[in-house]
Protein backbone atom coordinates (compact mmCIF):
# COMPACT_ATOMS: atom_id res chain seq x y z
CA UNK A 1 0.00 0.00 0.00
CA UNK A 2 1.47 3.33 -1.01
CA UNK A 3 0.67 6.21 1.28
CA UNK A 4 0.06 9.62 -0.18
CA UNK A 5 1.28 12.52 1.96
CA UNK A 6 -2.21 14.07 2.23
CA UNK A 7 -3.56 10.81 3.62
CA UNK A 8 -1.27 11.13 6.59
CA UNK A 9 -2.45 14.48 7.79
CA UNK A 10 -4.82 15.06 10.68
CA UNK A 11 -6.62 12.79 13.11
CA UNK A 12 -9.01 10.21 11.83
CA UNK A 13 -12.23 8.92 13.25
CA UNK A 14 -13.24 5.92 11.25
CA UNK A 15 -14.13 2.35 11.85
CA UNK A 16 -11.19 0.20 12.81
CA UNK A 17 -10.34 -3.00 11.05
CA UNK A 18 -9.95 -5.85 13.52
CA UNK A 19 -7.35 -8.57 13.29
CA UNK A 20 -5.61 -11.02 15.56
CA UNK A 21 -1.97 -12.02 15.38
CA UNK A 22 0.75 -13.07 17.81
CA UNK A 23 -1.92 -13.37 20.51
CA UNK A 24 -2.89 -9.71 20.15
CA UNK A 25 -6.27 -8.29 19.26
CA UNK A 26 -5.48 -5.55 16.76
CA UNK A 27 -7.56 -2.45 16.05
CA UNK A 28 -6.03 -1.26 12.82
CA UNK A 29 -6.31 2.10 11.13
CA UNK A 30 -8.43 1.44 8.02
CA UNK A 31 -5.71 3.00 5.86
CA UNK A 32 -3.27 0.23 6.80
CA UNK A 33 -3.20 -3.20 5.21
CA UNK A 34 -0.99 -5.55 7.20
CA UNK A 35 0.45 -8.20 4.89
CA UNK A 36 -0.46 -11.71 5.92
CA UNK A 37 -2.87 -10.68 8.64
CA UNK A 38 -6.48 -10.89 7.52
CA UNK A 39 -9.23 -8.85 9.09
CA UNK A 40 -11.77 -10.47 11.34
CA UNK A 41 -15.35 -9.44 11.82
CA UNK A 42 -15.64 -6.69 14.39
CA UNK A 43 -18.67 -5.07 12.83
CA UNK A 44 -20.68 -2.77 15.04
CA UNK A 45 -18.28 -3.06 17.91
CA UNK A 46 -16.05 -0.07 18.02
CA UNK A 47 -14.38 2.86 16.46
CA UNK A 48 -10.72 3.60 16.21
CA UNK A 49 -9.99 7.02 17.48
CA UNK A 50 -6.59 8.32 16.57
CA UNK A 51 -6.69 10.92 19.30
CA UNK A 52 -5.09 9.47 22.43
CA UNK A 53 -6.84 12.01 24.63
CA UNK A 54 -10.27 10.53 23.99
CA UNK A 55 -9.70 7.35 25.93
CA UNK A 56 -9.46 3.69 25.07
CA UNK A 57 -11.58 1.99 22.47
CA UNK A 58 -13.85 -0.90 23.21
CA UNK A 59 -13.02 -4.31 21.89
CA UNK A 60 -14.90 -7.33 20.64
CA UNK A 61 -13.40 -9.49 23.38
CA UNK A 62 -12.30 -8.93 26.95
CA UNK A 63 -8.72 -8.48 25.74
CA UNK A 64 -7.67 -4.85 25.45
CA UNK A 65 -6.92 -4.07 21.82
CA UNK A 66 -3.57 -3.09 20.44
CA UNK A 67 -4.04 -0.01 18.32
CA UNK A 68 -2.14 0.34 15.06
CA UNK A 69 -2.40 3.69 13.36
CA UNK A 70 -0.81 6.05 10.88
CA UNK A 71 0.23 9.31 12.44
CA UNK A 72 3.72 10.57 11.58
CA UNK A 73 3.15 13.89 13.36
CA UNK A 74 2.17 12.19 16.60
CA UNK A 75 5.15 9.83 16.34
CA UNK A 76 7.45 12.81 15.92
CA UNK A 77 5.80 14.69 18.80
CA UNK A 78 6.15 11.77 21.21
CA UNK A 79 9.67 10.87 20.19
CA UNK A 80 10.78 14.47 20.65
CA UNK A 81 9.43 14.30 24.23
CA UNK A 82 11.96 11.62 25.25
CA UNK A 83 13.43 12.84 28.52
CA UNK A 84 16.88 11.52 27.75
CA UNK A 85 18.84 10.33 24.77
CA UNK A 86 17.34 7.12 23.41
CA UNK A 87 19.39 3.98 23.76
CA UNK A 88 20.02 1.89 20.67
CA UNK A 89 19.01 -1.60 21.76
CA UNK A 90 19.28 -3.36 18.42
CA UNK A 91 20.92 -2.87 15.08
CA UNK A 92 20.62 -5.21 12.14
CA UNK A 93 23.14 -4.77 9.33
CA UNK A 94 24.08 -6.32 6.07
CA UNK A 95 27.72 -5.31 5.76
CA UNK A 96 27.77 -1.53 5.95
CA UNK A 97 24.08 -1.21 5.24
CA UNK A 98 21.81 -0.67 8.22
CA UNK A 99 18.65 -2.70 7.74
CA UNK A 100 16.92 -2.02 11.05
CA UNK A 101 17.50 -0.16 14.25
CA UNK A 102 15.52 -0.23 17.47
CA UNK A 103 15.89 2.62 19.93
CA UNK A 104 14.42 2.80 23.39
CA UNK A 105 13.23 5.86 25.25
CA UNK A 106 11.75 4.26 28.39
CA UNK A 107 8.81 6.64 28.87
CA UNK A 108 8.00 6.90 25.17
CA UNK A 109 8.61 3.45 23.80
CA UNK A 110 10.59 1.55 21.20
CA UNK A 111 11.24 3.17 17.84
CA UNK A 112 11.82 0.80 14.96
CA UNK A 113 13.43 2.32 11.90
CA UNK A 114 13.99 0.41 8.70
CA UNK A 115 15.53 2.72 6.09
CA UNK A 116 13.51 2.50 2.88
CA UNK A 117 10.43 1.36 4.79
CA UNK A 118 9.68 3.74 7.62
CA UNK A 119 9.43 4.09 11.36
CA UNK A 120 7.07 2.58 13.91
CA UNK A 121 6.84 3.74 17.51
CA UNK A 122 5.66 1.07 19.94
CA UNK A 123 4.35 2.21 23.31
CA UNK A 124 6.22 0.88 26.36
CA UNK A 125 3.30 -1.43 27.19
CA UNK A 126 3.04 -2.62 23.58
CA UNK A 127 -0.59 -1.50 23.34
CA UNK A 128 -0.15 1.12 20.65
CA UNK A 129 1.85 1.29 17.42
CA UNK A 130 2.18 4.56 15.55
CA UNK A 131 3.41 4.33 11.99
CA UNK A 132 5.38 6.74 9.84
CA UNK A 133 5.96 5.23 6.39
CA UNK A 134 8.71 6.57 4.19
CA UNK A 135 7.17 8.45 1.29
CA UNK A 136 6.89 6.22 -1.73
CA UNK A 137 7.49 2.99 0.17
CA UNK A 138 4.98 0.46 -1.07
CA UNK A 139 6.09 -2.26 1.33
CA UNK A 140 6.47 -0.31 4.56
CA UNK A 141 3.67 -2.20 6.35
CA UNK A 142 5.70 -5.43 6.07
CA UNK A 143 7.54 -4.04 9.09
CA UNK A 144 4.43 -4.67 11.18
CA UNK A 145 4.26 -8.48 10.99
CA UNK A 146 8.01 -8.87 10.54
CA UNK A 147 9.21 -6.80 13.48
CA UNK A 148 6.78 -4.46 15.19
CA UNK A 149 3.96 -6.81 16.17
CA UNK A 150 6.30 -9.50 17.59
CA UNK A 151 7.94 -6.75 19.66
CA UNK A 152 4.54 -5.47 20.82
CA UNK A 153 3.57 -9.04 21.75
CA UNK A 154 6.75 -9.37 23.80
CA UNK A 155 5.92 -6.14 25.62
CA UNK A 156 2.47 -7.52 26.36
CA UNK A 157 3.76 -10.66 28.04
CA UNK A 158 4.12 -13.15 25.21
CA UNK A 159 7.41 -14.81 24.34
CA UNK A 160 8.07 -14.87 20.62
CA UNK A 161 10.21 -17.63 19.18
CA UNK A 162 12.14 -17.30 15.95
CA UNK A 163 10.52 -20.39 14.51
CA UNK A 164 8.19 -21.66 11.85
CA UNK A 165 5.07 -23.36 13.10
CA UNK A 166 2.28 -25.57 11.85
CA UNK A 167 -0.67 -27.21 13.54
CA UNK A 168 -0.08 -30.94 13.34
CA UNK A 169 -2.75 -33.23 14.78
CA UNK A 170 -4.30 -30.31 16.71
CA UNK A 171 -1.00 -29.32 18.31
CA UNK A 172 1.59 -26.74 17.44
CA UNK A 173 4.79 -28.15 15.97
CA UNK A 174 7.50 -25.51 15.96
CA UNK A 175 10.73 -25.56 13.99
CA UNK A 176 13.67 -23.45 15.11
CA UNK A 177 17.15 -23.33 13.68
CA UNK A 178 19.68 -21.21 11.87
CA UNK A 179 18.75 -19.24 8.81
CA UNK A 180 18.72 -21.49 5.77
CA UNK A 181 18.25 -24.67 7.81
CA UNK A 182 14.99 -25.36 6.02
CA UNK A 183 12.34 -24.28 8.55
CA UNK A 184 10.08 -22.70 5.96
CA UNK A 185 10.49 -25.48 3.39
CA UNK A 186 9.59 -28.04 6.00
CA UNK A 187 6.53 -26.04 6.97
CA UNK A 188 5.47 -26.03 3.32
CA UNK A 189 5.91 -29.78 3.03
CA UNK A 190 3.77 -30.24 6.14
CA UNK A 191 1.10 -27.89 4.80
CA UNK A 192 0.85 -30.09 1.79
CA UNK A 193 0.15 -33.02 4.08
CA UNK A 194 -2.78 -31.20 5.61
CA UNK A 195 -1.25 -29.20 8.44
CA UNK A 196 -2.40 -25.64 9.04
CA UNK A 197 0.10 -22.80 9.05
CA UNK A 198 0.74 -21.05 12.35
CA UNK A 199 3.52 -18.73 11.30
CA UNK A 200 6.55 -18.74 9.05
CA UNK A 201 9.11 -16.91 11.08
CA UNK A 202 7.78 -15.98 14.50
CA UNK A 203 5.45 -17.78 16.89
CA UNK A 204 4.11 -16.17 20.05
CA UNK A 205 3.96 -18.48 23.05
CA UNK A 206 1.95 -17.90 26.18
CA UNK A 207 1.80 -19.99 29.35
CA UNK A 208 -1.84 -20.53 30.22
CA UNK A 209 -3.41 -22.86 32.78
CA UNK A 210 -0.34 -25.03 33.05
CA UNK A 211 0.21 -25.38 29.34
CA UNK A 212 1.84 -23.43 26.56
CA UNK A 213 -0.31 -21.90 23.86
CA UNK A 214 1.10 -21.07 20.42
CA UNK A 215 -0.53 -18.16 18.63
CA UNK A 216 -0.73 -17.71 14.87
CA UNK A 217 1.39 -14.97 13.33
CA UNK A 218 1.30 -13.56 9.84
CA UNK A 219 0.29 -15.75 6.89
CA UNK A 220 3.42 -14.90 5.01
CA UNK A 221 5.91 -17.48 3.96
CA UNK A 222 9.19 -16.57 2.37
CA UNK A 223 11.48 -18.94 0.55
CA UNK A 224 14.87 -18.46 -1.04
CA UNK A 225 14.81 -19.04 -4.78
CA UNK A 226 16.63 -22.35 -4.38
CA UNK A 227 13.99 -23.56 -1.90
CA UNK A 228 11.25 -22.31 -4.19
CA UNK A 229 12.71 -24.33 -7.06
CA UNK A 230 12.76 -27.48 -4.96
CA UNK A 231 9.02 -27.34 -4.26
CA UNK A 232 6.92 -30.06 -5.82
CA UNK A 233 3.92 -29.27 -8.00
CA UNK A 234 1.65 -30.19 -5.08
CA UNK A 235 3.45 -27.79 -2.80
CA UNK A 236 3.19 -25.00 -5.36
CA UNK A 237 -0.52 -25.71 -5.55
CA UNK A 238 -0.93 -25.46 -1.77
CA UNK A 239 0.90 -22.16 -1.60
CA UNK A 240 -0.57 -20.37 -4.60
CA UNK A 241 1.34 -17.89 -6.71
CA UNK A 242 4.34 -16.14 -5.16
CA UNK A 243 5.45 -12.55 -5.35
CA UNK A 244 9.06 -11.46 -5.22
CA UNK A 245 10.02 -9.60 -2.06
CA UNK A 246 13.58 -8.64 -1.09
CA UNK A 247 15.02 -11.32 -3.32
CA UNK A 248 12.82 -14.09 -1.91
CA UNK A 249 9.61 -15.67 -3.06
CA UNK A 250 6.76 -14.66 -0.77
CA UNK A 251 3.53 -16.61 -0.47
CA UNK A 252 0.36 -15.98 1.49
CA UNK A 253 -0.99 -19.39 2.53
CA UNK A 254 -4.04 -19.53 4.76
CA UNK A 255 -3.15 -19.45 8.41
CA UNK A 256 -4.72 -21.26 11.34
CA UNK A 257 -7.59 -19.20 12.69
CA UNK A 258 -6.99 -20.10 16.30
CA UNK A 259 -4.15 -20.77 18.72
CA UNK A 260 -3.02 -24.32 19.37
CA UNK A 261 -1.57 -26.01 22.43
CA UNK A 262 2.17 -26.58 22.22
CA UNK A 263 2.99 -29.97 20.76
CA UNK A 264 6.71 -30.09 20.12
CA UNK A 265 9.75 -27.98 19.37
CA UNK A 266 12.15 -29.28 16.75
CA UNK A 267 15.63 -27.79 16.72
CA UNK A 268 16.94 -28.12 13.18
CA UNK A 269 20.61 -28.99 12.83
CA UNK A 270 22.62 -29.37 9.69
CA UNK A 271 24.28 -32.74 9.57
CA UNK A 272 26.10 -34.99 7.16
CA UNK A 273 23.91 -37.79 8.45
CA UNK A 274 20.20 -37.90 8.47
CA UNK A 275 17.47 -37.15 8.34
CA UNK A 276 16.79 -38.17 11.90
CA UNK A 277 14.58 -37.13 14.77
CA UNK A 278 15.53 -37.74 18.37
CA UNK A 279 14.17 -36.49 21.63
CA UNK A 280 16.69 -34.41 23.57
CA UNK A 281 16.93 -35.82 27.09
CA UNK A 282 18.89 -32.94 28.55
CA UNK A 283 17.96 -29.84 26.59
CA UNK A 284 20.63 -27.17 26.37
CA UNK A 285 18.88 -24.18 27.97
CA UNK A 286 21.02 -21.81 25.92
CA UNK A 287 19.68 -23.36 22.70
CA UNK A 288 16.17 -22.58 23.94
CA UNK A 289 17.11 -19.08 25.04
CA UNK A 290 18.75 -18.43 21.67
CA UNK A 291 15.53 -19.34 19.87
CA UNK A 292 13.96 -16.09 20.98
CA UNK A 293 13.00 -13.58 18.33
CA UNK A 294 13.34 -10.59 20.56
CA UNK A 295 16.60 -9.24 21.90
CA UNK A 296 15.42 -5.67 22.36
CA UNK A 297 13.27 -5.90 25.49
CA UNK A 298 15.56 -6.35 28.46
CA UNK A 299 13.42 -5.40 31.44
CA UNK A 300 13.83 -7.65 34.50
CA UNK A 301 10.27 -8.95 34.07
CA UNK A 302 10.84 -9.86 30.45
CA UNK A 303 14.26 -11.43 31.01
CA UNK A 304 12.80 -13.56 33.79
CA UNK A 305 9.87 -14.54 31.57
CA UNK A 306 12.30 -15.47 28.80
CA UNK A 307 14.16 -17.78 31.18
CA UNK A 308 10.89 -19.20 32.51
CA UNK A 309 9.76 -20.01 28.99
CA UNK A 310 12.95 -22.01 28.47
CA UNK A 311 12.14 -23.89 31.70
CA UNK A 312 8.57 -24.51 30.52
CA UNK A 313 9.72 -25.77 27.11
CA UNK A 314 12.29 -28.09 28.69
CA UNK A 315 9.65 -29.37 31.13
CA UNK A 316 7.39 -30.48 28.28
CA UNK A 317 10.04 -33.12 27.40
CA UNK A 318 8.98 -32.60 23.82
CA UNK A 319 12.03 -30.89 22.43
CA UNK A 320 13.62 -32.79 19.56
CA UNK A 321 16.73 -32.60 17.47
CA UNK A 322 15.91 -32.78 13.78
CA UNK A 323 19.03 -33.47 11.75
CA UNK A 324 18.91 -32.26 8.18
CA UNK A 325 21.41 -32.85 5.40
CA UNK A 326 22.30 -29.79 3.34
CA UNK A 327 20.17 -29.60 0.23
CA UNK A 328 17.76 -32.18 1.52
CA UNK A 329 14.34 -32.34 0.00
CA UNK A 330 11.80 -30.99 2.51
CA UNK A 331 9.23 -33.53 1.37
CA UNK A 332 11.55 -36.33 2.47
CA UNK A 333 12.05 -34.59 5.78
CA UNK A 334 8.30 -34.22 6.28
CA UNK A 335 7.92 -37.93 5.48
CA UNK A 336 10.53 -38.79 8.11
CA UNK A 337 8.71 -36.66 10.63
CA UNK A 338 5.36 -38.27 9.86
CA UNK A 339 6.82 -41.77 10.13
CA UNK A 340 8.09 -40.95 13.62
CA UNK A 341 5.01 -39.06 14.80
CA UNK A 342 3.38 -41.98 16.65
CA UNK A 343 6.48 -42.30 18.89
CA UNK A 344 7.01 -38.60 19.42
Amino acid sequence: MQIQPEALAGPIRERAKWSTAFGLLLAVDPRIDIPGIPNVDGAGVSELDASPSEGPISAPTSQPPTRVRLDPAELERRWSCADRAPERVRELRDGDTVLLTVELAPRVGYLLHAPGFGRILIAPDGAELICDPEPGSSEWSTLLPAQALPLAATLQGFEVLHASGVVLQDRAALFAGPSGAGKSSLAVALLRRGSAMLSDDTVALQPREGMLIAHPGAALLQLHSIEHERLSAHEHAVLGPPETFLGKQRYSPSVSASPAPFGALFLLERSTHGPSVERIEAVDPFALLASTFNLSVRTPERLTRHLDLAVALAATERVYRLRVQPGMNATQLADTLYERLPEL
Partner: protein
Protein backbone atom coordinates in the same frame (compact mmCIF):
# COMPACT_ATOMS: atom_id res chain seq x y z
CA UNK B 1 35.58 -3.41 46.94
CA UNK B 2 38.58 -5.65 47.52
CA UNK B 3 38.10 -9.35 47.02
CA UNK B 4 37.59 -11.14 50.33
CA UNK B 5 40.30 -13.50 51.47
CA UNK B 6 39.60 -17.21 51.62
CA UNK B 7 39.11 -17.03 55.36
CA UNK B 8 36.75 -14.08 55.07
CA UNK B 9 34.80 -15.81 52.35
CA UNK B 10 34.31 -19.00 54.33
CA UNK B 11 33.12 -17.00 57.33
CA UNK B 12 30.79 -14.85 55.25
CA UNK B 13 27.10 -15.22 54.64
CA UNK B 14 26.58 -15.46 50.89
CA UNK B 15 23.27 -14.74 49.19
CA UNK B 16 21.86 -14.26 45.72
CA UNK B 17 21.09 -10.58 45.25
CA UNK B 18 17.64 -9.45 44.15
CA UNK B 19 18.89 -8.77 40.65
CA UNK B 20 19.83 -12.42 40.14
CA UNK B 21 17.48 -15.27 39.32
CA UNK B 22 18.37 -18.85 38.63
CA UNK B 23 16.58 -21.83 37.15
CA UNK B 24 17.60 -25.46 37.08
CA UNK B 25 17.56 -27.62 33.97
CA UNK B 26 18.43 -31.31 33.67
CA UNK B 27 22.12 -30.79 33.02
CA UNK B 28 22.67 -27.15 33.80
CA UNK B 29 21.65 -24.28 36.03
CA UNK B 30 21.17 -20.93 34.34
CA UNK B 31 21.91 -17.86 36.44
CA UNK B 32 20.56 -14.60 35.05
CA UNK B 33 21.88 -11.21 36.04
CA UNK B 34 18.92 -8.89 35.51
CA UNK B 35 21.12 -5.79 35.64
CA UNK B 36 23.40 -6.83 32.82
CA UNK B 37 20.95 -9.10 31.00
CA UNK B 38 23.61 -11.80 30.89
CA UNK B 39 22.88 -15.49 31.31
CA UNK B 40 25.50 -17.72 32.92
CA UNK B 41 25.62 -21.51 32.88
CA UNK B 42 26.62 -23.66 35.83
CA UNK B 43 27.17 -27.39 35.68
CA UNK B 44 24.99 -29.49 38.02
CA UNK B 45 27.61 -29.56 40.81
CA UNK B 46 28.09 -25.81 40.72
CA UNK B 47 24.31 -25.38 40.61
CA UNK B 48 23.94 -27.50 43.74
CA UNK B 49 26.74 -25.54 45.43
CA UNK B 50 24.91 -22.30 44.66
CA UNK B 51 21.76 -23.64 46.31
CA UNK B 52 23.73 -24.79 49.34
CA UNK B 53 25.49 -21.43 49.61
CA UNK B 54 22.20 -19.54 49.47
CA UNK B 55 20.72 -21.68 52.25
CA UNK B 56 23.72 -21.93 54.62
CA UNK B 57 24.45 -19.39 57.38
CA UNK B 58 28.02 -19.05 56.04
CA UNK B 59 29.84 -20.31 52.98
CA UNK B 60 31.98 -22.54 55.19
CA UNK B 61 28.87 -24.08 56.76
CA UNK B 62 27.84 -25.44 53.38
CA UNK B 63 31.02 -27.52 53.10
CA UNK B 64 30.22 -30.55 55.34
CA UNK B 65 26.84 -31.17 53.74
CA UNK B 66 28.26 -30.96 50.21
CA UNK B 67 31.21 -33.18 51.15
CA UNK B 68 28.76 -35.80 52.46
CA UNK B 69 26.56 -35.51 49.43
CA UNK B 70 29.37 -35.95 46.93
CA UNK B 71 31.52 -38.32 49.03
CA UNK B 72 34.53 -36.06 48.66
CA UNK B 73 37.06 -34.73 51.17
CA UNK B 74 35.85 -31.47 52.75
CA UNK B 75 39.13 -29.77 51.79
CA UNK B 76 38.46 -30.47 48.13
CA UNK B 77 34.88 -29.18 48.38
CA UNK B 78 36.13 -26.11 50.23
CA UNK B 79 38.60 -25.28 47.44
CA UNK B 80 35.93 -25.74 44.76
CA UNK B 81 33.43 -23.69 46.72
CA UNK B 82 35.86 -20.82 47.17
CA UNK B 83 36.71 -20.84 43.46
CA UNK B 84 33.01 -20.82 42.61
CA UNK B 85 32.28 -17.98 45.04
CA UNK B 86 35.10 -15.89 43.59
CA UNK B 87 33.79 -16.41 40.06
CA UNK B 88 30.24 -15.57 41.08
CA UNK B 89 31.34 -12.50 43.06
CA UNK B 90 33.28 -11.17 40.06
CA UNK B 91 30.13 -11.44 37.96
CA UNK B 92 27.96 -9.93 40.72
CA UNK B 93 25.90 -13.09 40.88
CA UNK B 94 26.26 -13.44 44.65
CA UNK B 95 26.81 -10.93 47.41
CA UNK B 96 28.18 -11.05 50.91
CA UNK B 97 25.44 -9.80 53.17
CA UNK B 98 27.26 -10.04 56.49
CA UNK B 99 30.03 -11.90 58.20
CA UNK B 100 29.63 -14.66 60.72
CA UNK B 101 29.85 -12.93 64.12
CA UNK B 102 31.73 -15.94 65.45
Amino acid sequence: MASPSTTELLAARVRLPQHVVHRSFVAETVVLNLRTGKYHGLNPTAGRMLEALDAAPTAGAAVPELAREYGVEPAKIENDLIALCQGLLERELIEIVDADPA
